[in-house]
Symmetry: C2
Subunit: 313 residues, 2 copies
């Protein structure tokens, strides 16, 4: 059996799936080494092998979704969250070599996730869609007329569209972006600022009790369930920023569907997506014809499955 391995490289984990006949037949997940690029590449190779070992067959292609800037020959750089990946890393060639020269396709992680949902997930009925992934940051993957939109390489950066002039500072240094309100990291920073200013919150207590050193999606979800006022206020702002940003995309492109995923999007799920839709629709140029708003079907496998699709699996 010919196996295509799809890999989703992130700052905290490497997720791989083995795909045969367009179905996931194996999975593996390992923490991203926090040391250097060589260790990260070795761990990717190990994760690919582990995913492949779950099914009989031979690895014939590998696709990797990665953050950062990607060049045509599979090199990656400027991936802030992956150790050693700020410098140029020959990701595609290195992984290919480890598997005796099998072809390795390297693409943007968010675009891969959108491709996963489009070809194998919630997006299958549509030709035009936006995948919006709300996690540490906020990324977008556009499919227009059945084709992924790359532009000159950086299309889909909806997290860095502006929704509030002079608003909250974003991870990129600018102000008022969608990500400044809806990205998990910016939410955590805003919560810390508010707490330092005297706001009462159980958010960091929950974080510690869960043994985490950052405010994860599940910490946020628990705080919401506990009725934490600060967390509710921050998520209200996230919903509003996403609603404005997505309405802007919709008024520009008139898409059929939007799929909301990512760590926070998947964790908060349908009620969160419904709130975004409700706040977005009145802002549309044609409010009687909004896009279909969907959760992901593949959850945190969207990226790895999409990377396999991009590789041809």
């Amino acid at each position: 059996m010919d196996l295509t391995i799809g890999v989703d490289l992130g700052g905290t984990k490497v997720q791989a799936v083995a795909v045969a006949n367009q179905r996931v037949v194996g999975e593996a997940r390992r923490p991203t080494p926090q040391t250097d690029a060589t260790a990260v590449v070795d761990e990717i190779v190990a994760t690919v092998k582990e995913a492949a070992s779950a099914a009989p067959g031979k690895v014939v292609r590998i696709g990797i979704g990665t953050p950062g800037t990607i060049t045509g020959d599979g090199h990656v750089s400027k991936a802030t969250n992956v150790p050693g990946f700020m410098e140029d890393v020959p990701l595609g060639p290195s992984v290919s070599k480890a598997f005796g020269g099998v072809p390795v396709a390297v693409d943007n992680d968010v675009r891969a996730a959108a491709m996963g949902e489009f070809h194998r997930g919630a997006g299958r009925p549509y030709r035009d869609l936006l995948g919006v992934f709300v996690g540490t940051g906020v990324g977008g993957g556009l499919i227009l007329g059945g084709t992924v939109r790359r532009g000159r390489g950086s299309a889909g950066e909806i997290g860095h569209t502006s929704v509030k002039q002079g608003g909250r500072q974003c991870s990129c240094g600018q102000r008022g972006h969608v990500e400044a309100y809806a990205g998990r990291m910016c939410i955590e920073l805003a919560a810390r600022r508010k707490q330092a200013e005297g706001a009462d919150t159980v958010l960091f207590e929950i974080m510690k009790r869960k043994g985490r050193d950052r405010v994860t999606s599940s910490v946020i979800a628990d705080a919401l369930e506990r009725g934490d006022a600060l967390t509710h206020a921050l998520i209200d702002k996230a919903v509003e920023a996403l609603a404005i940003g997505l309405a802007n995309v919709q008024n520009t492109l008139d898409l059929e569907a939007m799929i909301v995923g990512g760590g926070l999007g998947d964790r908060l799920g349908a009620p969160f997506i419904r709130r975004i839709a409700d706040a977005m629709t009145p802002r549309l140029r044609v409010p009687e014809h909004p896009p279909v708003m969907l959760a992901t079907q593949l959850g945190d496998l969207s990226g790895a499955v999409g990377a396999a699709v991009i590789a041809g699996g």
Copy 2:
């Protein structure tokens, strides 16, 4: 010689061009009747005949760019600025009948203008571009991979994307849109409000001296030249709103080029476009790789030429 006639229908004028072998060989322009739909359709027919009479040959196709909602069979409705065109008007069939049944293509006016610049104007070197037309309102026409983007019918509404939460009221009733700051009508309304509040301005004096009943693009240009502080402040805000709105489009789509036209865009020209570019670039995700920013080449003929292109001429 086979003539294709392209028509640009607006609230104040009907502009037609006769095209043969992809070149404009005739032009005609008449004021839009301010009475009813029948009078408007008759005037379109007369303008087509006048444009055609400028060159020897036979009218074999007609293209019409119109505001409002367009159905597949060439009917138009909800065009607020054209008398009688809020109701359903069988525009395509009526004009076709007047010319013995020649095929008539009806499309959106802004999209037609973008097509005109893309195929016959400033956009010829590019495959991906946005035409942004700053006139009474602000409209956008997207060309992606050489194809006009329609979506489900309403793509390109960049004038109604949000740049300032709770900002100035737009002609559509919502707040903080690009058009609320950059559309000529909204600029005029803002100037009237400011004057009523006591602001000093020569804008309305210039308007009267020119014998106009509204603040036209040339009135605005004259006031700027006279150093009118209020007009300068309003145009500063227009530049900023356009810069944010266009940066949002660019971060979403990563286009090769943007062409700024429309009554106000064409009148204020290169210095206005340079200011928009200068304010937009630092807001880009990839500021070292901005889109090329261009003026129109066809000026106020973009729409009529584009309508001819859409008809096949």
